[in-house]
């Protein structure tokens, strides 16, 4: 049974929560997480700006959810796998994929801009919950080969309603696949609040119906996330089978820039979450413990700014994707039909070229 209250190690005030029995991550881990948090926030803000500047078509921001993003990446080993959604750009970047490559999707140059095998990060998934099954397959294949791989698979609260969520958890449980299902419950699926998505005591309770251990964690508390996700990864690695973690967080911005959140929620609701900001919280804690000072903050800021500068550079670089690619990557060997069809485009282009 998941606990009635989500695990919290650092309160919104930045103080250690006295009542929690769970271990605090190491200082080094917390400092590392903080640097990543600052970068993730900067990434979100920079991407938002790039949308306004017309360099990104759309951006689903994880602003406010950065602790989840950062922790998801940090608890994994290099050989582990991460399965992110469209909203998890910051987690993918935290895992080491260059931001410019990640944003290829939202820039519109191609569907996915990075090689998933370089960092063991699946392409960002849009069809909701479908990726959870792929995660189970990756984990099961590794298990058959007796590799120590753990797969961390992310989805939102809304995605838990899809049939594929159910099938993924059940398959993972039956096959004891080492998957950590990580639900970022940000209380909204576009405009639909959690209460219209589920009337279960919590989303973590969904684990029970599969024989999967479920846990709830404060999604704005990086320390709690590192511990809870880290323990889940360890359990999965040790053969305990899949784990389900629900992080309670909040989508601070609209679903994407194209969305108008005022149609369905009051600004005051959002404001209520301001003081639970994951960055401020960890910063206060670290400063209180002497693990962060102005100099440290400057270093983190500088790194974040470098990331943002790189993003700007990448996104202001105009790429002209080659239409031939459309036909090259359908099959290993293009069919006669695709060869004919790509010739149509090539011909059109050469005629256009001739016109110029």
């Amino acid at each position: 049974m998941p606990t009635a209250v989500p695990v919290q190690l650092i309160g919104p005030d930045g103080e250690r929560v006295a009542t929690s029995a769970r271990a605090m991550p190491s200082d080094a881990d917390l400092v590392r997480a903080y640097t990543a948090l600052v970068a993730a926030r900067r990434l979100n803000d920079q991407a938002y700006a790039l949308v306004r500047q017309g360099r990104l078509a759309v951006y689903p921001s994880s602003h406010g959810q950065e602790a989840c993003q950062v922790a998801a990446a940090q608890v994994l080993d290099a050989a582990d796998w991460l399965f992110p959604t469209y909203r998890d750009t910051a987690a993918v970047v935290a895992r080491g994929v260059p931001a410019g490559e990640v944003l290829v999707l939202l820039k519109g140059d191609w569907h996915s801009g990075y090689d998933p095998y370089t960092h063991n990060v699946a392409p960002q998934a849009t069809p909701l919950a479908t990726q959870l099954l792929h995660a189970v397959g990756v984990a099961h294949a590794a298990r058959l080969r007796v590799e120590p791989t753990v797969v961390l698979a992310m989805c939102g609260d809304g995605a838990t309603s899809e049939g594929d969520f159910h099938e993924a958890l059940n398959f993972a449980a039956v096959f004891r696949a080492p998957v950590v299902f990580f639900v970022q419950n940000n209380e909204y699926a576009i405009s639909v609040p959690l209460a219209r998505q589920s009337v279960a005591p919590s989303l973590a309770h969904k684990g029970i119906g599969y024989g999967i251990r479920g846990e709830r964690v404060d999604g704005n508390d990086a320390a709690a996330l590192l511990t809870v996700l880290g323990d889940a990864v360890t359990r999965a690695r040790e053969g305990a089978g899949p784990q389900l973690i629900e992080a309670h967080t909040y989508r601070m911005q609209a679903h994407t820039n194209a969305d108008d959140a005022r149609r369905y929620r009051a600004d005051a609701d959002v404001a209520a979450w301001e003081h639970r900001d994951p960055l401020a919280r960890l910063s206060t804690y670290l400063r209180g413990r002497g693990l962060l000072d102005d100099a440290g903050q400057q270093v983190a800021d500088a790194a974040a700014e470098e990331l943002a500068a790189g993003m700007r550079e990448e996104l202001f670089r105009d790429v002209t994707p080659d239409p031939a690619d459309l036909f090259t990557h359908v099959f290993a060997v293009p069919t006669p039909q695709l060869i004919e069809q790509s010739a149509v485009v090539a011909d059109e282009q050469s005629r256009e070229g001739a016109l110029r």
Binding site: A57, V58, L105, L106, K107, G108, D109, W110, H111, T126, P127, L128, G158, A159, S161, E162, G163, D164, A189, I190, S191, V192, R196, Q197, S198, A258, D259, D260, R263, Y264, V319, T320, P321, P323, D325, L326, F327, V330, T335, Q337, L338, Q341, S342, V344, V345, E348
Partner: protein
């Protein structure tokens, strides 16, 4: 009735976008028939990601227009049950590719219920699907999925190409005793036109000649109709007279109108965004050829999407049948042989 709704009252002629016309159609049917209910993802407070259901919850209450949990098979499956029990559900699949999770419900139940019960149970329901490309959407947001539905016996498949048809056809779809997959060309949502909201609800199954012409016939539907019309306009300047037929109703198909049009010109090009292989365009080419073979001076040409996954935004214009490609196909209709 709430006063928060922003649309003008539905009377007589108005200039409306297709999105507004669809909204009017929903409102008018909901007003006329209390058994009409609208549900899906984000159709309530938000009014749908394309605002097609804007204001419906405010006007009719949240038992008439409501959000569901995020699960398309659930949405269609629940609609089946509601239709079995006296309602006329109109559900929205948020985007074309997000209708796929509901595929089993659509193919194995929606399409078959009347048949398996020999008419005892009928499903007066509409599945609205914003579809096709042209809006720079990322992957899974631009599929032209009409062939999947059109190939499935028991489904009516409609797609409007302008605001007036959007209004009339959606009303006809909701009024139909049988299920309709209603495909809304996303890229035309914001095109404004004159709509007569007091016109009679049209019959389903009628194609329409949108432009007269004598040299060749362009056969198109949904998002490709404006392309065909533009191509015909350009061809006219070049001295070639192209007729344009808007199919509107893919199932049932209006063989009479389409075949007569092709017979009158002896040449034809079918235009559609979907990949061409085993598509609605294939069907149109095949069936028109069957009917008009000896009137044809050249084989019917198809200008369709290529047989590739829908491209990323920056490349989508290569996939969409454009005016140039249509005119190229017209040029290739073996004019020397006539």
């Amino acid at each position: 009735m709430s006063t928060t709704t922003t649309q003008p009252a539905p009377t007589g002629h108005q200039k409306l976008t297709m999105a507004q016309a669809l909204n009017h159609a929903l409102r008018d049917e909901m007003s006329a028939d209390p058994s009409v209910v609208v549900f899906g993802e984000d159709v309530g407070a938000l009014g749908g990601v394309f605002r097609i259901t804007d204001g419906l919850t405010a006007e009719f209450g949240d038992t008439r227009c409501f959000d569901t949990p995020l699960a398309e098979s659930g949405i269609v499956g629940m609609a089946i049950g509601m239709a079995m029990n006296g309602m006329r559900p109109v559900v929205e699949m948020q985007f074309d590719a997000f209708g796929y999770p509901a595929f089993e419900q659509v193919v194995s139940h929606v399409a078959k219920m009347r048949n398996r019960t020999r008419g005892a149970v009928t499903l007066p329901m509409v599945i609205r699907v914003p579809y096709a490309g042209g809006i720079g959407g990322v992957e899974h947001h631009c599929d032209s999925s009409e062939a999947y539905y059109a190939h499935t016996p028991g489904l009516q498949v409609l797609t409007p190409a302008d605001a007036a048809d959007a209004y009339g056809l959606l009303r006809a779809a909701i009024a139909s005793p049988d299920p309709v997959v209603f495909l809304e060309p996303k890229k035309l949502y914001w095109a404004k036109e004159e709509v007569d909201l007091s016109a009679e609800v049209p019959g389903i199954g009628r194609a329409v000649v949108r432009r007269a012409g004598t040299d060749a016939t362009l056969i198109a539907y949904g998002p490709s109709v404006p392309v065909a019309l533009e191509a015909a306009a350009i061809a006219a300047q070049e001295g070639r007279s192209l007729q344009v037929v808007d199919v509107r109703s893919i199932v049932p198909f209006d063989d009479e109108t389409v075949a007569a049009a092709v017979r009158s010109t002896g040449r034809a090009v079918v235009i559609a965004e979907a990949p061409g292989f085993a598509s609605v365009a294939s069907e149109i080419a095949a069936r028109v050829t069957e009917r008009c073979f000896h009137s044809l001076a050249a084989p019917i040409a198809r200008v369709t999407g290529f047989d590739i996954p829908f491209p990323p935004p920056k490349l989508e214009h290569f996939q969409l049948p454009g005016v140039d490609r249509v005119l190229d196909a017209v040029d290739a209709l073996q004019w020397e042989t006539s």
